[in-house]
């Protein structure tokens, strides 16, 4: 009871800050729009393979940018304040939820932009949308944890990319593979659900690891 209230308060704080400053949201939105626009200028209407690959790479970059901000914006003094009033676990859970929310929003916006600018190779639009949601949750969870690690070191943004890209490859490979289902590729019976379960399992693993490991990062 108490736990969920703490988490909700922290989450509300992040959302309120976002609504008042509107810095991350519009910043990342502009990033999404301009990168997809550049892709459109370069490729116009690519084939479905290329479309799929580009889509997930763009998600990756959006994620690095959107998630990095959430830890970068916390100054040292503010972190100390949170340390005094909230538990480490509450803090990281609130961050995980907040980043997942932002990333879901950004992914859906970028899906719409891809759809408008780069053409529509999707056979099964709603299935693909579902996969995008699952994928953006996976990406945001992993990168939240990495942002927490990178926040402790200097040169955060570049370090996050260095640490994150090799770790995210398995999930990204799985996502690119699964999302071909949305492009009309037939899978062996059970193969698709196996891969989906694997992704969900990895998500659960990331959350557990974040909850266990974050307290060690937290105290300085």
């Amino acid at each position: 009871m108490n736990t969920s209230r703490h988490i909700l308060t922290l989450l509300r704080k992040d959302l309120l800050l976002e609504l008042r400053q509107q810095y991350t949201f519009y910043g990342v939105l502009l990033y999404v729009a301009s990168s997809i626009f550049v892709l459109y200028l370069a490729l116009q209407q690519p084939e479905s393979e290329v479309w799929n690959g580009l889509f997930w790479i763009i998600q990756l970059f959006i994620c690095v940018n959107a998630v990095a901000k959430s830890f970068l914006q916390e100054t040292k003094g503010r972190m100390l304040y949170f340390y005094a009033i909230a538990g480490a676990q509450h803090f990281i859970i609130a961050k995980l939820l907040y980043n997942t929310f932002i990333m879901l929003l950004m992914s859906l916006i970028s899906l719409a932009l891809f759809h408008i600018l780069l053409g529509n190779p999707l056979v099964n639009f709603w299935q693909f949308t579902g996969i995008v949601c699952i994928g953006s949750i996976s990406l945001s969870l992993v990168f939240t944890m990495l942002a927490a690690i990178a926040a402790k070191a200097q040169q955060q943004a570049s370090l996050m990319a260095i640490m994150g890209f090799p770790i995210i490859i398995p999930q990204l490979l799985l996502l690119m593979r699964i999302s071909k289902a949305g492009m009309g590729e037939a899978f062996q019976a059970g193969a698709l659900s196996d891969m989906l379960w694997l992704l969900c399992g990895l998500d659960a693993l990331v959350m557990i690891m974040a909850i266990i490991l974050f307290p060690f990062l937290w105290k300085d």
């Binding site: 070191a153 640490m163 090799p166 770790i167 398995p170 196996d194 990895l202």
Partner: protein
């Protein structure tokens, strides 16, 4: 001079693998032919890498439970040797693939997995070097090590089972298969090569640890 039994065992096993692996008779398979001997050197590198990375993670966990600089030195030393084993595994694999699969790199899922593991641990060292404060470096490094290990290893074990691979076990595969090994090969492989190279990796790591202990003498006994 202090002599440990396992170091003697390591020397005997590696020597046995070298001599037995290069001289003893092997089954003559199509495509593979004499290159099947590479199984004694290529596959143990992966066993060695996994064992060394696992030991490294154990020390990282120990560090978080009880922050002592010695654990951090051990974790980084085992990770370092693990990377060397991984690189050797990639090179021996690429040489082998060049003659059996036709080209050194064919984007096989296991090749990708190996490259991923190396990148992850390279990032571990970049992360460590980005911090000057020793305690902070040890703590953040340990957290990343555990997190990366937990993310990487399920992927290395599970993902190759979901997609097609040129490696043994896949369908329509001209490469080596564990079933291609006869009894004598299996004997050399499981009793000589695998434990021998794992022990060698551990030995190298302990030497790095001892070296670092001398280097950081002032910090350890402060």
């Amino acid at each position: 001079m202090k002599i440990s039994w396992w170091k003697i065992l390591c020397v005997i096993l590696v020597l046995y693998t070298l001599i037995g692996g290069l001289l003893f008779d092997v089954p003559h398979k199509k495509i593979l032919n004499e290159s099947i001997r590479n199984i004694y050197f290529h596959v143990p590198m992966w066993f060695g890498m996994m064992v060394l990375f696992s030991i490294s993670v154990v020390y990282s966990i120990k560090y978080l439970r009880n922050p002592s600089l010695l654990y951090d030195i051990q974790a980084s030393a085992y990770a370092r040797t693990g990377i060397v084993f991984g690189i050797l595994g990639l090179i021996t694999g690429a040489l082998w693939a060049n003659y059996t699969w036709g080209k050194a790199w064919s984007n096989d899922i296991k090749q990708l997995g190996a490259a991923m593991a190396l990148l992850v641990y390279a990032a571990y060292f970049v992360l460590r070097n980005s911090m000057i404060d020793i305690d902070k470096r040890a703590r953040v490094g340990a957290v990343y090590n555990i997190f990366a290990f937990a993310m990487l290893f399920p992927a290395l074990w599970i993902v190759p089972r979901l997609v097609e691979s040129l490696h043994p076990g896949g369908a329509g595969n001209p490469g080596a298969d564990p079933r291609d090994m006869d009894a004598r090969m299996r004997f050399i492989f499981w009793l000589g090569a695998v434990p021998g190279f794992i022990l060698l990796g551990i030995w190298i790591s302990t030497i790095i640890v001892r070296f670092r202990k001398i280097e950081d003498k002032n910090l350890l006994h402060a």
